[in-house]
Amino acid sequence: MSHAELLLLLHKQWSGEITPEEQERLEGWLQASPEWAARAALYRLIWEKASPPQTTWPEMDLDAEFDRLLARIEAAEAQRQAAQRVKRVFIGQGWRVAAAVLLLFGVVWLVRPRPTPETISVQALPPLPEREMRLPDGTLVHLRQNATLSYQPETFARKERRVRLQGEALFTVRPQARKPFIVENAWGAEVEVLGTQFDVRADSDQLMVLVCEGRVQLWPQGKNSGKGNVVLQVRDKALCKKGEDRLQIVKIPFHLNDLAWRTHRLDFRNEPLREVIAALEDYYKADIEVQPPSMLDCRYSGHYYLDTLDLEKMLRGLCRIYRFQAQKLSSVHHRLTGGSCPGR
């Protein structure tokens, strides 16, 4: 018997998954050899004496945590009710009921005032880093953590496909002739496409649009404002600020670092360290201080696969290259000091 085999059989025994034959084999071995028996006893001791890590949390503000829970419950219930209302319409109990309901609805529809349209909101809540969803037209949306996408199921895809976004999302729009897909943000800017892939980040006072494929039209003040629109091409990144007509449009370089939240990949080719730090801050939602700031002009080349790295490992790598001293001020606040550009 090998050591690994002994351990395997012991583990099977402990988890209750051992077969009668295996049990017999194990016992035979242990009886035949005192040496194996002693080893098994040691492992059994380790197994039995292993106790779970401590189960108390040092300090916690239970009032604040409970408030957070209530807010979360409220959001979840609102989302669920909206989804249920749609379902209830469709899940009838047989044709007769369905027909009666339909008739009733028809009558009610004619006499009642126009109801406020129902809205479905989908949110990507922590701890998951992102959430994937499909809209009724087949368009694929990847929502970044904390982003909210809402649309009105009744009117969606009637004349146009309209959604409202807060936060960041990557859209892969299913092409549909004559039914433009429109993303609007809180202040009414609109992004219109026919079929393409693009990323929108709608913060409260800034809008960023990045086109990965196809073409996109952007109305900074909305279609009906009478103000002009801009056409964005592949690899265009547009930034516009609330209340400003002027746009800033840049061609993005070879990489897709702006989409790191989705691709989990960062590429740099001889770029200033400032770009690297900014990309890391955005991806990890952290604060990274560099002292002296002149270090930010050092050049950097390389690529990262971020889903296998945490921020601390990343920073340790930078420390090795630039001889920084790293200091962790909190889980999201780090400081790098000293250092020198290699090759200078």
Binding site: H11, I46, P53, W57, L69, R72
Partner: protein, 202 residues
């Protein structure tokens, strides 16, 4: 209906079903900190641990009327929290869970840690606990699931989306590493002898 501050878990659950938020608060106060601590040992991240446990309580509230709790409320919540933690690990660490090449370097710090630590406390259980905390992450998670959550190898494999073979390899590796960590223990041979002699029958 009177609400006493010392209601039992069953009473709390009953009141919860009727939609009483005070009962939710009592259940929350009783279990939240220990659940966050339990989840933390799998995720190693404070904020996500809190979020995960918050989601468990959100589900508890939303499904309060259709809940079918066969275990005790505490055991139910713990299992729900651990399952969620594993789902979270699965999405966060797809790649880490699949490759099997993690170097054993995590153990390198152990001896120094050990020496410091032994000045204060020379107790097998404490040393073992410490050694478990020092195991490589995947190894530790699989070991803890098997030992402390009472999950079968198959159940762990399904939860983590990896093969039973990998689970067994991780368990074998974990026990070996724990043995190596304990070998520095001064009284280990004596403890093993005594334990074989008097402890096995219990």
């Amino acid at each position: 209906m009177s609400i006493t501050p010392y209601a039992s878990a069953e009473e709390d659950l009953e009141q919860l079903r009727r939609g009483c938020t005070a009962a939710l608060r009592r259940i929350f106060d009783r279990y939240y900190p220990e659940l966050v601590a339990a989840v933390f040992y799998y995720t190693s991240d404070e904020e996500s641990s809190k979020d995960i446990v918050q989601e468990v309580f959100t589900e508890l509230w939303i499904r309060r009327q259709t809940l079918n709790i066969r275990l005790s409320l505490g055991a139910y919540l713990r299992r729900a929290a651990i399952n969620r933690a594993l789902n979270y690990l699965k999405t966060r660490q797809r790649y880490q869970f699949h490759d099997d090449t993690t170097p054993w370097q995590d153990l390198a710090d152990l001896s120094e840690h050990d020496r410091q630590w032994k000045e204060h406390q020379d107790d097998l259980e404490m040393q073992l606990r410490h050694a478990i905390e020092q195991l490589p992450e995947r190894c530790r998670i699989v070991f803890m699931l098997s030992r402390f959550e009472g999950m079968s190898h198959r159940a762990i494999a399904e939860q983590l989306g990896i093969s039973v073979k990998t689970i067994e390899n991780q368990l074998i590796r974990a026990t070996r590493l724990l043995r190596q960590a304990l070998e520095s223990h001064r009284y280990l041979p004596v403890i093993v002898l005594l334990w074989i002699k008097y402890g096995l029958g219990q």
